[in-house]
């Protein structure tokens, strides 16, 4: 059994295999951030182009697909 880690996306706890990126964790929640009109959005490209997985980590906006998930990490999709 692979090692699992837990992180929080907008205060929702999500458990993923170690080595996952944050975009994968967002997908396992069925998407995370909302469009400006409140429609659900989800990661698309997985390679740093589309920015649909953008999250805030420690006051910095970044792309979830380029960010390795870490145990205890807390990210927000709304700044």
């Amino acid at each position: 059994m692979s090692l699992r880690i837990q992180l929080w996306i907008d205060d929702r706890a999500v458990s993923v295999p170690a080595g996952s990126n944050v975009a994968a964790a967002m997908l396992s929640l069925g998407g995370a951030h909302r469009s400006v009109h409140g429609e659900p959005r989800a990661p698309v490209c997985g390679m740093g182009v589309c920015w649909e997985c953008r999250v805030w980590l420690d006051g910095i906006e970044t792309r979830g697909c380029l960010l390795s998930a870490a145990d205890g990490m807390r990210v927000r999709t709304d700044g």
């Binding site: 400006v36 920015w51 953008r54 906006e61 709304d78 700044g79």
Partner: protein, 380 residues
């Protein structure tokens, strides 16, 4: 019924289609991409009382009045942000003072803003500016949706469209790349900088611009469209490459950052060196821009003419043109459509068409078309 075929479905082509269809003419709009998908979608959609030559000023003022009379649907995202012109030194401030009088003479209220008040209006502006000029009546729209709206109105008035790549135009005829042709009494070329590919003598060339948009912010970064006083020099200048601070707040909380101008570049690639210069220029005025996250950057081609005035009117019998607006295509679209329609229908023009005559660059002055002969007659 007089038949018109309009090439190009950007802001100008759709405005002309709407004007002619609502006047009762038979209109076909010919285009190969989406409606409003070219320079219309690439620009800032700023409806701006930009000071310029008397001809430019008259066309802009007439057009802004027509824009005010349009009620645009919500999806056009009309933003009443005004324009805040900012000066770095007393020389630029003097330019803004003269700009204020030009605008006031043309009927547009313009308010000089002392340096101290700039910081109240826009806390993100650098603190050592000399002052500003605020034009509250300027607005921003999401231009591709406005083009779609004008197409809807044209369609309701009976206009049709044909999606096809145009291979060649001639007086009274369009040849498509797929070999078919379309006959019309009058062909109107409104394809922006690409118009020259269809009519090589046309004195219009691409002037490339870059834009960058940020991700959304929960709180507004700026409240006005902020433009440096030197923007007008960049816009009217002849430099191979120039940048000027021109930054717009979007209703979504995003920030749209411009502007650049490049001559003689045919490819639409984003150029990192120009993008960097443009962002450094914007950050000179708004240092906090460095905190924002860039989401996307893209380019567009303005259609520029040698003297900076657009081309509106007859090229020859059966062939007319409406392009060459450089950075003012959205601002000047309604008055351009009105004037072109009046010229091709043989009606009395609301404003003097002479500054925009497409034949003004001819080596020998071309004989002005005889309105009796060139007018296509009253539309039934």
């Amino acid at each position: 019924m007089t038949r018109f075929a309009i090439v190009g479905a950007g802001m100008i082509g759709t405005a002309v289609a709407c004007e002619l269809a609502e006047a009762g003419a038979d209109v076909v709009l010919v285009h190969d991409g989406p409606v409003g998908g070219g320079a219309t979608a690439a620009g800032m959609g700023h409806l701006v009382a930009l000071p310029g030559s008397p001809g430019q000023t008259e066309l802009t003022q007439r057009s802004l009045a027509l824009w005010r009379s349009h009620s645009l649907p919500d999806d056009c995202e009309t933003l009443c942000c005004g324009t805040l012109w900012v000066a770095r030194d007393t020389r630029e401030l003097e330019e803004l003072v003269s700009q204020a009088w030009v605008l006031r003479d043309a009927g547009t209220p313009a308010e000089l803003i002392p340096a101290k008040r700039l910081r109240v209006l826009e806390p993100e502006l650098r603190p050592d500016l000399a002052g500003g000029l605020r034009v509250l009546s300027d607005r921003a729209i999401y231009a591709p949706r406005a083009a779609a709206e004008l197409w809807r109105r044209a369609h309701s008035a009976g206009a049709r469209r044909r999606q096809a790549r145009v291979a060649a135009v001639a007086a009274g005829q369009i040849q498509m790349a797929n070999g078919t042709t379309l006959e019309a009494d009058c062909v109107v070329l409104a394809a922006g900088d690409r118009s020259r590919l269809l009519w090589p003598q046309l004195p219009v060339r691409p002037r490339k611009g870059h834009l960058l948009i940020t991700t959304r912010r929960a709180t507004p970064f700026i409240y006005h469209q902020i433009i440096e006083a030197g923007y007008t020099r960049s816009a009217h200048g002849r430099a191979d490459a120039s940048v000027a601070c021109n930054v717009q707040p979007r209703p979504t909380g995003q920030v749209l950052i411009g502007s650049s101008r490049q001559e003689g570049i045919e490819h639409a690639d984003v150029e990192p060196a120009i993008l960097q210069r443009m962002l450094q220029r914007a950050a000179t005025y708004l240092p906090g821009i460095e905190r924002l996250t860039a989401l996307r950057a893209w380019t567009g081609m303005r259609a520029a003419t040698p003297d900076g005035e657009p081309l509106i009117g007859w090229i020859e019998d059966g062939l007319a043109v409406a392009t060459g607006h450089e950075g003012l295509g959205i601002t000047q679209a309604p008055a351009t459509a009105e004037l072109l329609s009046q010229l091709v229908l043989g009606w009395r023009p609301t404003i003097d068409p002479a500054p925009y005559c497409p034949q003004r660059f001819a080596a020998k002055p071309a004989r002005r078309p005889d309105p009796e002969r060139h007018a296509l007659g009253a539309v039934p």
